[in-house]
Amino acid sequence: MKPKVVVFVFPGTNSEDETKRALEASGVDVALVRSDDTTDAAKKADGYVLPGGFAHEDRIRAGAVAAHDRAMDVVIEAAEKGKPVLGICNGAQVLLESGLVPGTSQVRRPSAAFAPNIPGGRFRCVHIYMRLLIAPARSALLAALPEDAVIPAWVAHGEGRLAASFDELAHVEREHLAFVYSDANGDVNPQAVPNGSALGAAGLINKAGNVLAIMPHPERDAWTFMHRYDLVPAKTAHEALQPSGGIALIQSFAKAFV
């Protein structure tokens, strides 16, 4: 039997369909569930994904209102039971606002944030690479990736800069920094960081390793036609529909249930 994953859809979510497609292609059953639906069907899922978008129109600040939605009651309870949870872009912002990631504070008392980009809070939509910085075995969600895996993806956000106190950043760097922006070869350098993110952070993980928050969208580089065409021009429709690098992260998440 395939694992069942709920993709919560908040008012303003816009990436649920491509997230669902990438998950289904990776071997899980997916249900799109509205964020005000907390029936047993939603509660009994094996794992949860919070997709990208602008939940509640980013009112107050990105992820702030969604972190208090009833759906997050379900996600928080599931995370505490050890179920896999993945937040992508706006979903990652929600996870930080909910305090699940990095998880060093009380629930719904955030200790870090994906804050407005530097410079000037400008929205960035660019193709990037992110390198896995922790041992894959540290997390069931990442265990199927090779060490130092380099994942292609797209960023599309105005608020993706990791921000926290100096003490918290030091702690995050030691224990929670899962992905950093890199070039295509996996070399980490400031030019690869699209948003001024502290530590070059692209993704954080909680202590237990079952909740992952990533700002880039791997599901938007899941097939070759979604990859940068100037780098990998597909010559045929068959080539265009071949898996691309971003799907590896979704596949690794799907294998967390096996």
Binding site: R59, I60, R61, A64, V65, L96, A164, E168
Partner: protein, 151 residues
Amino acid sequence: MIEHAFEIRLAIPDNEAYTALATLQRLGVACAGIARTDIHVFGFDDDANTSDLETQLKTVATIFNPNKHRLRAREEPRPNAGEVWISSADVPAVHERVTIGGVELRGVRTAWRATSWRLLDSGGKDVPEPILDQAVETLLCNPAFQRAIKP
């Protein structure tokens, strides 16, 4: 350096304020109304002429639309009683020139912005300070990158 503050408030229904109110009430914060205003604070050299700043601001289309906003100068660059400003925790940088929405603001050396929040009781009066503090802690401010400025 001298600072001048301006508020830009919506003259049409404020959906963001309504969302904040509904969320705060769901979180158990005792309030019946809410008022939200954008605050822009500009720093000048002490001897700068600031007399036409309001006129300049009204030409910045990215922050002011005369059909839906009202702009006025604040008496002081700090919150009034019953009000809290939520702003970035970053210290504003000093620039030779400051440009907002493509408009260079003459004489301005620093610029930062905040969101002003006031919570109201059922009589339209400001709620007691502990209730405002509760709203700040539960929803309005993320201390990881923001600061709450009180009177």
